[in-house]
């Protein structure tokens, strides 16, 4: 029953979505207010329909209805309920439905929030969002319908299709808490970039290319950017503790797919400030918004179509053509609009100096785009080379690292320098005042690092740069707060807090930068990892750096979902016992092929600044079955990646807050209805 309701809801959603697009466009064309309003209501209706469909799918998972193919392929009876629910986005059909659902939710929020404020743009915004939605709904309905019945072709015994008694289970790699939240976060990011795109399109169509669309979409862009950052970080965290190879980023095509929109989105968030302040880079920003959106769709395409080999490219599937067609249409339509509106996108100012805020933003953009281009090129190289030369050539980590490591270091440099440069032209005097102390301090720290044994050039540069940026950020807070204490008599800490909440955008931004610094420090620790491997029986020991592992117990265990080989390992730091590590090797039972999987044990040294991880993998049993093959990694600084990520998210949240008790001063708008109290607190 639920399947029929879901199926019907999808069909209805398609009709309603198509109607919404048509009604919105025709409504504006014939200036028919009722039609426009009806188009908007249809968009809300589409949200209700897709929501119904996703609830039905969730219900089918919850009750393990294996007569539905998607359920049978991604769940089994013994799967815990939270994994059953997260299986909604565990495979092709469901995760696309999930994408489409988030899009309609965003659409509903945008429509409700902005309808009155931007009445002339909104019908177009609705039309653009609903067109994207129509594309996804078409796919749900015609290509990858999650409500299809199970058909087992090769049942020789009985010609009648039968319902399997149990499903073939969720991929054990996805049976993980991070996998429950990683895809929703990532998708919230991907999908979120559709909103700025829709506003950009609406602004171009209505020729209202003033600040309005940029201000309206700034928060949306930041929200999408934040979710995408969380998604990427959780993906890294998942890979780190689930895949058992000791690292968190492997330049896998799927990882790259999420990084590309992030890079362009980051470029946009920065260069848009230049447009707000100086009225420059308007065409450029337009192109960035378009590219961010296109890259989000492209990323979904890359993950879902199987065009490139990847650890989790899911299928050689039929949806590639749909995506390719949609990408071509969306990109050419958007670029045509930009081209047609070029005269309206004229710059109001020009670059004046190489050493200015503008130029630092420009270089920031240039290298972020270069990074994105390199990642794109490397990811798509097998496809491109096969098309051009007929031979499939892949490139791997050395290619990506060679290009992106120097870019990241340069970007870090700009992170430190950019925010302190004056607009237009920075004077030599101000350069000295702002940068001399941090530069000297960072170089001194660099000398200490070198003496302490940091001889890896890039890692050294990364660390020195991080220290430099950290000092500039701390100084900014200190200077601002100090000035406040003089004026208000507040204590320093109090002043820091008030300062931050009175100018959330600026200081939130600094906190984001600081998070990035910590992330960067953690990432540079990758240059110093060491590893070791041994066959260990009970009582055997293995050394790695200042740590010793001692095998205390080997056992086996059984769970309805999997069977496991378990080890209990004592970890000694310089001879003192600090932890019990419990790595496991599980074999998941569901499906035709039992699927082995390692459960990594990680000891994060909490008392130690380096926050090094001792990372232990149960790689398997020796052939005689008496010993365990244990692999151990020593990963310095890794915890800083996660700490930095958290700080980055907190910073973004602060930057999203409205400024506390400041007078709202706004330049008069060309927009017809400037509501004076329109402080968009909800955005």
């Amino acid at each position: 029953m639920a399947a029929q309701i879901g199926q019907f809801a999808l069909a209805l959603a398609w009709v309603v979505t198509a109607y919404s697009v048509l009604a919105s466009i025709l409504g504006i064309r014939y200036k028919h207010d009722k039609l426009i309003a009806s188009g908007r209501n249809a968009a809300l209706g589409a949200t209700a329909c897709i929501t119904t469909a996703i609830v039905c799918l969730g219900y089918l998972f919850a009750v393990s209805d294996f007569s539905i193919k998607y359920i049978a392929a991604h769940s089994n009876r013994d799967l815990p309920i939270y994994f059953k629910i997260s299986s909604i986005w565990g495979g092709q059909e469901g995760s696309l439905l999930f994408w489409g659902w988030l899009l309609t939710i965003y659409t509903a929020l945008v429509v409700i929030q902005n309808w009155r404020k931007h009445s002339s743009m909104m019908p177009y915004v609705t039309a653009v969002l609903m067109t994207t939605s129509l594309f996804f709904t078409s796919m749900h309905l015609f290509a990858v319908n999650p409500f299809n019945q199970t058909v087992i072709l090769q049942s020789q015994i009985s010609p009648i299709p039968f319902v399997p008694r149990d499903g073939s289970g969720l991929n054990p790699l996805l049976q993980d808490a991070y996998m429950v939240i990683h895809p929703p976060m990532l998708y919230l990011g991907f999908v979120g970039f559709a909103v700025p795109f829709a506003f950009a399109m609406a602004a171009m169509i209505t020729r209202q290319l003033g600040d309005t669309w940029i201000r309206t979409t700034r928060r949306w862009t930041m929200v999408a950017w934040m979710f995408l950052s969380i998604g990427i970080l959780l993906g890294g965290k998942w890979a780190y503790h689930e895949l058992g190879w000791g690292g968190f980023w492997a330049w896998d095509p799927v990882e790259n797919a999420s990084l590309m929109p992030w890079l362009i989105g980051t470029a946009f968030l920065h260069s848009v400030m230049v447009q707000e302040k100086k009225g420059m880079l308007k065409i450029w920003n337009m192109v960035l918004v378009i590219m961010t959106y296109i890259m989000s769709i492209f990323g979904t395409f890359l993950t879902r179509s199987g065009v490139v080999n990847s650890v989790h490219a899911f299928a050689q599937s039929s949806i590639g053509g749909y995506f390719a067609a949609f990408l071509v249409v969306a990109l050419s339509g958007a670029l045509y609009l930009v081209f047609d509106r070029l005269p309206l996108l004229k710059s109001e100012n020009q670059m004046e100096s190489m050493v200015s805020r503008e130029s630092s933003f420009m270089f920031n953009n240039l290298i972020l785009l270069a990074a994105c281009f390199a990642v794109f090129w490397g990811t798509m190289f097998p496809v491109i080379s096969e098309a051009v030369t007929g031979r499939k050539i892949t490139v791997s980590a050395p290619f990506f690292n060679k290009v992106n490591v120097p870019i990241a270091i340069f970007l870090m440099f700009l992170t430190g320098v950019g925010p302190l440069l004056a607009w237009r032209k920075a004077s030599t005097d101000s350069l000295k005042r702002n940068f001399l102390t941090p530069a000297i301090a960072a170089l001194a720290a660099g000398a200490v690092l070198y003496i302490r044994g940091v001889h890896h050039l890039y890692a050294w540069m990364a660390l020195v740069m991080s220290i430099f940026v950290a000092i500039t950020i701390v100084r900014e807070f200190y200077k601002g707060a100090k000035a406040r204490t003089v004026g208000t008599g507040e204590r320093l800490i109090e002043a820091v807090v008030n300062l931050t909440f009175r100018n959330t955008r600026r200081y939130g931004g600094y906190i984001v930068h600081f998070g990035f610094v910590l992330l960067f420090i953690g990432w540079s620790g990758q240059a110093f990892t060491t590893d070791n491997q041994a066959d260990m029986g009970v009582g055997d020991t293995m050394n790695i750096r200042e740590y010793t592992l001692r095998m205390d117990k080997l056992s086996t265990g059984d769970d309805p979902n999997y069977s496991a080989e378990k080890a209990v390992i004592s970890l000694f730091e310089n001879g003192t016992k600090v932890a019990n590590l419990l790595p496991e090797r599980r074999v998941y039972k569901a499906g035709a092929e039992p699927q082995p999987m390692s459960v990594v044990a990680i000891y994060d040294t909490p008392h130690n600044f380096y926050r090094s991880d001792v990372y232990v993998v149960f790689a398997g049993a020796t052939p005689d079955g008496k010993k365990a093959i244990i692999q151990a990694f020593y990963n310095p600084l890794t915890a800083w990646v996660w700490i930095g990520g958290t700080v980055l998210v907190i910073g973004t949240l602060i930057a999203l807050l409205p400024n506390k008790r400041t007078v709202v001063r706004r330049r008069p708008e060309p927009e017809p209805k400037p509501k004076p109290a329109a402080v968009d607190t909800k955005a």
């Binding site: 990858v144 073939s168 058992g244 299928a315 039929s318 791997s396 050395p398 790689a619």
Partner: protein
């Protein structure tokens, strides 16, 4: 104004050139030719010089462990390839009988492919679909 724009242009070109150089050298270092097992054999002599990625299904029962080195056979009879994995990272959990393995490394003169990087996709857990959307089940029964 013109002179300043020139400066920006030079700065940008320098950055782009540096990055292009880095990209090119990274490409030279890591470029890998992708082939299936039959294609690999059709390369003949050329197969020994290039860095290759070979993909094929793991033949059931062929996975052997010998200390740190793991070897197995991929492909379909009669054209099969013995792969010896000597990489630093732990072997992926997904490398089991009938999984699709992608081994990256070099072809040895003794006919054994020496891999330093392994990717594997478990056949039964990942969907294999034809263009028409019909599921081809790889299950043995």
């Amino acid at each position: 104004m013109k002179r300043k724009q020139l400066k920006f242009a030079i700065g940008s070109v320098l950055i782009v050139l540096t990055l292009s150089y880095l990209a090119y050298s990274g490409y030279q270092e890591s470029k890998t030719y992708y082939h299936t097992v039959p294609e690999l054999y059709s390369l003949k002599e050329k197969a020994y010089d290039l860095r290759l990625q070979v993909s094929g299904d793991v033949i059931p029962g062929s996975i052997q462990r010998d200390g740190k080195v793991v070897s197995f056979v991929i492909g379909a009879e009669p054209q099969t390839l013995r792969v010896k994995y000597v990489g630093k990272d732990p072997l992926p959990d997904t490398l089991i009988d009938r999984a699709t393995a992608m081994a990256t490394g070099k072809m040895g003169r003794d006919g054994v492919f020496v891999a330093d990087t392994m990717l594997a996709k478990c056949a039964s857990k990942y969907e294999k679909e034809t263009a028409a959307g019909v599921q081809i089940s790889k299950k043995s029964n």
